[in-house]
Amino acid sequence: MAIMEVLDPTGKTADSQFGSMRQPLPRPKSLEGKTVGLLDISKPRGDVFLNEIENSLRDRGANIVRFTKPTFTKPAPVDLRQEIASSCDAVIEALAD
């Protein structure tokens, strides 16, 4: 088989291929006194599900802040993501139907 050179179809440069990958933060060891954001993605009955999660987490000593995405069909707006990142130690994003 002949050696062949082809162009990369991903459009990524050598630098961007691995350099931009971010590592997730370490998981909190305990929720005691931590602030947990609950993100409702605006699917039907997401509130029902998150109410149960909220009760369960409050029993473990967590402070709860609730957030809602404008629509489940699109990624959360940048402002909302930054607000969650700056005010919470952890976030739970809920699907429901």
Binding site: I3, M4, E5, L7, T71, T73, K74
Partner: protein, 365 residues
Amino acid sequence: MTPPTTETPSDTATTAPPAPPSNQLIRFGAAEDPFEAMFDRGWSDGLPLVPPTAERVAQMLSGTTRAPDEVVAVVPPDLVECTVETVAVNAVMAGCRPEYLPVVLTAVEAACTDEFNMHGVLATTMSVGPIIIVNGPIRHRIGMNSGGNVLGQGNRANLTIGRTLQLVVRNVGGGRPGEIDQSTLGNPGKLSFCFAEDEEGSPWESLAQERGFPAEASTVTIFAGEGPRVMVDQLSRQPERLAKSLALCLLTTGHPKMALAFDSILVVSPEHSARFRDAGWSKQRLQEELRKNMMIDVGRLPAAAKGITTEESESIQVKQLPKFRDGGLLIVHAGGRAGLFSSAICGWASGPAGSQPVTHEIEHV
């Protein structure tokens, strides 16, 4: 300081060689079969690809006057900037000819708008994918099919343009089945779904004209839709009866009891459109008759319809809702000369909270 030149005028008139490609060159091993190597790198949609050699990509780029390093779009879901050259690489792999490239570039731009919402169209558990409808003179110039078997196989332009868009989403955007693409069932059109409107045989203004573009403009309209479903009516001779018959079938898109949920495309074939042409029906008249026959009886709003909570839905009493929102049914004329069939293509979550059809003019052609 620029040194004084000794070049003669004829020397300066020679064309500069094309700039070297910006995308990385990947060298396959001596023992590797290039076709297998491309599968192994995850670039394929499941079908073989044409190896995108620098020569083939340079040839592809001859199909546009746009600079290879121009950014066409930021492609979801990974939000990666995609250049003209990278689109050309994927167009080579999909099997495009250079003259298709302007259509492909416009389709990529239209798909990566906030209105179309390619991220959501990709991520949804529903079966939809991007569907490309081409209008205007470019349809003929590049040999697209708007006639027999229009939604099927056999036409290189139709098939490879649609395939390239999906390869760009896969390879540049990083959108792959089982990852961000969470579709439960998918549909065969997610490999490629692109066709041209039969404007010459249509009794009506084209889809692009309806959406505000002049007849001489070449355009791409992109729609989030699933597979086409044929509607058989070989008996109706009166336009009222045919409209009623098509409405009955269109009501079943998504679910017969779902109202105002999804947009749809109605592809009317020549033998069906002849019934409306003979009766002098405008496209608007057909829209009105269809709407009249697509009102859904509802005792009360279904739970959670359009953001209404379960509690609210118990208290809101309505009698009838239309199947489609205003402008939510796109009518396109296409298909072979014989056959009393039309086709329904069901969409996805409609409007600003989901995906909206987007039409862009194809420039630089």
